[in-house]
Structure formats: structure tokens, C-alpha cells
């Protein structure tokens, strides 16, 4: 004999049955809802903090002057010798200024040199920068504590530590002496225009002069060591990398911030992995909690399921009803989780989470650490936890439901 399968009907009782079943053991359901809600809250909190912290970390790191992407001589990164320079700087900057994929470009030169204020002298890293472009590229001009940032040629912007060591003040003269590209002596005399405070290391060993001054001192006309660019989104880089790649010549390479500052990208990667493990464990606990609820349900309602099968309920319908139950439980959980997130995490987007250490201490020791983190809610952050919990719950409860669909009817009817 053949009977047609029952067609779908309006006003299905499955949803009311599933909803009421959910609340038959109110305490257990509330505990499961709480597990989903708090699991979601914690995962969203961690993800939003992650998402909100990487941007400032990258910005702080790259705004020390490295930018997001650079063109440099192919040997300079591994062996930063003065002769590994790049040429035609003025023309190339002018061309790159109009590149739509780049927010900003500049050029920098650098070498180690002896700096002195008779009778004091020390070794320092001399940076040649384009002062009018530096404000957009780095935070150095904002770190002035005395005097002013570079306004022209033959000026020097030095760290407070270096100023102390050389007993220099604003208006004083500093002598720079080093080796130029052809092995001869390069020298310059510059007036201290300003003094900055930054990390201890930078304060003691960094001196900035204009690129023109650097080029004249070290005999590097229209040359520099890096063309530095900023892009809108340093995580994706957009077309910025390709743009610089097209602008380089044969003996040059293009590197992005992940290669230039591997300590930041590796730190982010380690953070992502360690948080992913935490999030996985949290979600697993939530999913197991949901699964446990349905395993208990199966044991408690075995006889009832036997009756449903006996009166002619298809096993697929029982599976469907169980799935409706888990989806309803999930919905209640994520609504509660969403409310908790709105109450507890969203306000932090505006107030920020202040890292409990003084700004000065952080700045002097951890140059790349922001002083406050503002959680960032992207679609990814909002939806990952509920979707993963939902999929996990459906899969785990499916295992229970499959077992349910295989129940022996007479054994189920005999169960207590």
C-alpha cells in the first residue's frame, strides 16, 4: 500500500510544541540560554577588542616613520649601508603623489654617524626627512617638548636623551660626521630647532634633519633610502603594494609593514591564534551545553517520542521538531547575548578600555601599544559568535536527533 506523505499545512503545531517543550524544564533551559548568551558576550567582547586594537597598534608602529609600504634598495633592508640608495626621488614622489591607491608618500634617508657638540660626542641614527611631509607620515613632529619641528634645511630635531648627553639646547649647533656613499667623509652642521621625547631608545639615539641637508652632507643628490607610503587600510593594503611595485626599478624591492616590522604582524598573528583557541573552547562549551540539554530531553521524553511514532508521526517530523526546538533555544540565547553585548560592550566603543598603566610609561617602553582600546564592531564580530554557536548547536543536536529517529518504538513505549 502507498499513502501520500502529509502535505505541509498552515498553522503548524510543531512550533508551539517545540516552544512549550523548551520551557518544560525551565531551570535547565534558562541555564542553557545563559551559557549561549554569556558565551556570545565573551566571544564578541574578545573579538571586538582584537578588532579595535590591531588598527591602533599598526598605526602606532607605522607612524614611527616606516609607513605601510616602502620602496627600497634590494640590499638595504638586510644591510642598511648608505650606498644602497634609490634615485630620482623628486620625480618619483611627484608621480606617486597622484596615485589613487596611496594616501600619502614621502622619502627618507638614514645612516649612522658621529654627532657632537664639542667636547661631547656620540653615535646616532641620522634621519633625512621631508619636513613638510613628515607630519602626515609620522608622529615625530608631535613629540616636540622644546623648540619646534624642522622648518627648513640645516636644522636638527634631536631626542631629549641625546640633547642631555651632548649638553645641547634649542639654538645650539650639532656637528654630524659620517661616511658618504663613495667612502669619503660626509659632514654637516645644523642648528637644533627642537627637542622631542619618545621611547628611551629613540630619545638617546635619533636625530632628524631635512632630506636636503642629508643629501648635501652625504653627497647623495636626489637620492634617499626609502620611498614611504601610507594606504587607507593597512590590513588589506588595497592596490597600494602593486602601485609601488610598478614604480620600482630593477635593483629595488617593495616591502609592506608586515615585513618591515615583523614584531607587530607576528604579535597580531599570535594574538589571533591564542584568542581563536579561547573562542573555540568557549563555543565548544556552549555547544556541549546545548547538546547536553537535548540528550537529557531525549532520555526524559523517550516514552513520549515512542507514542508520537506509534500514532503515525514520521521520524523526519520528530527530527524537524527537535531542530525547531534547538533553533528556538538558540534564538532566545542570542537575543539575550545581544542584549548583554549592547549593555556591556557597546558603551566601551565610546568610552574605550584604558590600559591600566600611565601613558608615559607605555610610550617609553612599548612604542606600539595604544593607551586605550576602543572595541570595534564589524559585521564579522557581530555575526561570528551567534552563527558558529548556531551551526555547532544544530550539528550536535542532529547527532541526538538521529539517535532519536532510530528509537525502537516498543522499547520507547515501555520506558519510564
Amino acid at each position: 500500500m502507498k499513502y501520500h506523505p502529509a502535505p505541509k499545512t498552515q498553522g503548524s503545531l510543531f512550533i508551539p510544541v517545540a516552544w512549550r517543550n523548551l520551557w518544560r524544564n525551565r531551570r535547565r533551559t534558562l541555564l542553557t540560554v545563559a551559557a549561549i548568551a554569556f558565551g556570545m558576550l565573551i566571544v564578541q567582547l574578545v573579538m571586538s577588542i582584537q578588532s579595535g586594537s590591531y588598527g591602533p597598534m599598526i598605526a602606532l608602529g607605522t607612524r614611527m616613520g616606516s609607513g605601510h609600504i616602502q620602496i627600497l634598495h634590494k640590499s638595504f633592508h638586510d644591510e642598511p649601508r648608505i650606498e644602497y640608495s634609490i634615485v630620482n626621488i623628486d620625480e618619483r614622489l611627484s608621480n606617486l603623489d597622484n596615485a589613487p591607491a596611496l594616501d600619502f608618500v614621502s622619502a627618507r634617508a638614514e645612516t649612522f654617524a658621529l654627532v657632537s657638540n664639542d667636547p661631547h660626542s656620540t653615535a646616532a641614527l641620522v634621519n633625512g626627512v621631508i619636513p613638510e611631509r613628515e607630519l602626515a607620515l609620522s608622529d615625530m613632529p608631535t613629540k616636540v617638548v622644546k623648540g619646534s619641528y624642522l622648518t627648513g634645511d640645516n636644522q636638527a630635531f634631536i631626542g631629549a636623551g641625546l640633547a642631555r648627553n651632548l649638553q645641547l639646547d634649542v639654538g645650539g649647533e650639532i656637528v654630524i660626521l659620517g661616511t658618504n656613499a663613495d667612502g669619503g667623509i660626509g659632514a654637516a652642521v645644523a642648528e637644533v630647532s627642537g627637542i622631542f621625547e619618545a621611547t628611551t631608545e629613540l630619545e638617546r639615539a635619533l636625530i632628524q634633519v631635512s632630506l636636503n641637508t642629508f643629501q648635501e652632507a652625504f653627497d647623495m643628490p636626489d637620492q634617499a633610502h626609502r620611498i614611504v607610503a601610507l594606504v587607507d587600510d593597512p590590513m588589506s593594503m588595497g592596490d597600494g603594494f602593486e602601485t609601488l611595485d610598478r614604480a620600482r626599478v630593477d635593483d629595488e624591492i617593495v616591502m609592506d609593514w608586515t615585513e618591515l616590522m615583523p614584531e607587530i604582524s607576528e604579535g597580531i598573528e599570535i594574538d589571533i591564534v591564542s584568542n581563536a583557541v579561547l573562542q573555540f573552547v568557549l563555543i565548544l562549551i556552549v555547544v556541549l551545553s546545548v547538546m547536553n540539554t537535548f540528550v537529557m530531553t531525549l532520555f526524559e521524553r523517550t516514552r513520549e517520542y515512542g507514542v508520537l511514532f506509534a500514532i503515525g508521526m514520521k521520524r523526519a517530523f520528530v527530527y524537524r521538531m527537535t531542530m525547531i526546538e534547538v533553533v528556538l533555544l538558540w534564538l532566545v540565547g542570542i537575543v539575550c547575548g545581544g542584549l548583554l553585548t549592547c549593555l556591556l560592550v557597546v558603551p566601551l566603543m565610546f568610552t574605550g578600555i584604558v590600559i591600566p598603566a600611565s601613558e608615559d610609561a607605555l610610550q617609553s617602553q612599548f612604542a606600539f601599544m595604544p593607551t586605550a582600546i576602543y572595541p570595534d564592531f564589524s559585521w564579522w564580530v557581530v555575526f561570528t559568535a551567534p552563527v558558529v554557536i548556531g551551526i555547532g548547536a544544530v550539528i550536535s543536536v542532529s547527532l541526538v536527533a538521529i539517535r532519536l529517529a532510530r528509537l525502537d518504538i516498543t522499547e520507547a513505549l515501555r520506558s519510564e
Partner: protein, 225 residues
């Protein structure tokens, strides 16, 4: 329409292993005519419930054949057996076995929903069935809010609402006092006489036997009389 409602031919049901077989039924052959009200009687362990389960397609016989109307159950797949139970049979269990989260009317409606009947029709038929068993004031009560007798009447309403050919009742009076059992049997009789439902009930309650027109005596899995 078939000449009989139920027919079993040499039905044997063995539980346990091949080395230690336990015979629940041994070559049971019987015929129940359309519209009969039959009791299957016998002591505990005589095979009454097993026989009802085999006739109801809840379990398959180890040997032999069961026919319900023009359907040979042995030829049906599991899914087809589910359809047979849904469309041709009604069940009344010892412990009522209503869905606790549904009201009386929803419990009766539920089986009609499984048959794909529209919301309006199934509500009308469910209310009609409950009213026929004197439950017109209890439509919205849940099982936990009803007495044992009232729950068993809802169970009958659920069993007959889809107009099954055969109603199987397994020890339906086991949890009822004598007064409620009498009332319950009168409702079963009403379903049998007014709706023409063939009823097989497994029982060892003399009060229930008194309402049935034929007794089939089972002893050690065999028909004794």
C-alpha cells in the same frame, strides 16, 4: 473494502538470542471482522501487548503475516507502516500518553495535522470528537490539569478523530478506578457502535471484558480459546 478488519496468520514473535529464544507469540492466527469489539485477554506475559504491537505495525513478527484491511503489513516499508498507523489505526495506551505541553484540543488536532488537514478543519473535528466524549468544557486544559478518566477520554478522542478502521487499546483501564473504567468502556462502545470502529483491546480487567463481544484468550503466546 476487505471482508475482515484484521487477520493474523501463524504469527510468531521471538525475543532474545538464537541460543536462548523467548517466544512471545507462537503461531497466532485470528480474524477480526469489521466493526467487532474484541478483547484479548490473558495473564501477564501471555503476549497480549505483543500481539497488539504486531497488529499495529509497531513491531514486525518473526514469522507469519498480519493483514489490516487490504494491507499486508509484511510488505510495507517502515515509512509505509507509519502511514498505516496514521491513516488506518488509532491507539489508546495504558498511561494515556498525551502530549503534556498541548491542550486537550491540540492533542486531538495533532494527529490530523500529521495527516495534512487544514487548521480550520482539524480544529472543528477535534472539538467535535472531544464533545462526543463529554469533554466540551475541557478543550483548553492540558493533561496535567485533567483527571485520569478525562485524559483517557481525550486519548480515545485522539484515537478516533481521524476515523481509523481499527482502534487498538493496550490495558486502557490499568490506571482507572472501576467507576471511571465503566465510563471509559461506554465511550469505547460508543465509538464502536456509532463510528463503526473495529476495536481490539488487550486487558485482564473483567469489567472491560464485559463490554466486548468476543474474547480471545492468550496463554503463553498461543490462542487458548
Amino acid at each position: 473494502m476487505s471482508e475482515f478488519a484484521v487477520q493474523t496468520t501463524d504469527v510468531t514473535r521471538i525475543y532474545g538470542s538464537e541460543t536462548v529464544p523467548v517466544y512471545a507469540l507462537r503461531g497466532v492466527s485470528l480474524t477480526v471482522e469489521n466493526g467487532e469489539f474484541v478483547s484479548i485477554v490473558g495473564p501477564s506475559g501471555s503476549g497480549k501487548s505483543t500481539l497488539l504491537h504486531v497488529i499495529g505495525g509497531l513491531e514486525r513478527p518473526t514469522e507469519g503475516e498480519v493483514e489490516v484491511g487490504d494491507t499486508t503489513l509484511g510488505e510495507c516499508s517502515d515509512s509505509e507502516l507509519t502511514d498505516v498507523r496514521l491513516y488506518k489505526m488509532g491507539f489508546v495506551f495504558q498511561a494515556y500518553n498525551l502530549i503534556p505541553v498541548l491542550s486537550a484540543v491540540e492533542n486531538v488536532e495533532f494527529i490530523l495535522q500529521l495527516q495534512g488537514i487544514s487548521k480550520e478543519e482539524r480544529r472543528e473535528r477535534a472539538q467535535e470528537a472531544l464533545s462526543a466524549f463529554g469533554l466540551e468544557d475541557l478543550f483548553d486544559r492540558r493533561p496535567g490539569e485533567m483527571s485520569g478518566g478525562q485524559q483517557q477520554r481525550v486519548a480515545i478522542a485522539r484515537a478516533v478523530v481521524s476515523n481509523p478502521d481499527v482502534l487498538l487499546a493496550d490495558e486502557p483501564s490499568a490506571n482507572l478506578d472501576s467507576e471511571t473504567t465503566k465510563e471509559f468502556c461506554e465511550y469505547l462502545q460508543q465509538a464502536n457502535e456509532e463510528r463503526g470502529v473495529t476495536i481490539l483491546t488487550a486487558t485482564h480487567d473483567p469489567l472491560v471484558m464485559g463490554y466486548t463481544k468476543r474474547h480471545i484468550q492468550l496463554v503463553d503466546g498461543q490462542i487458548a480459546a
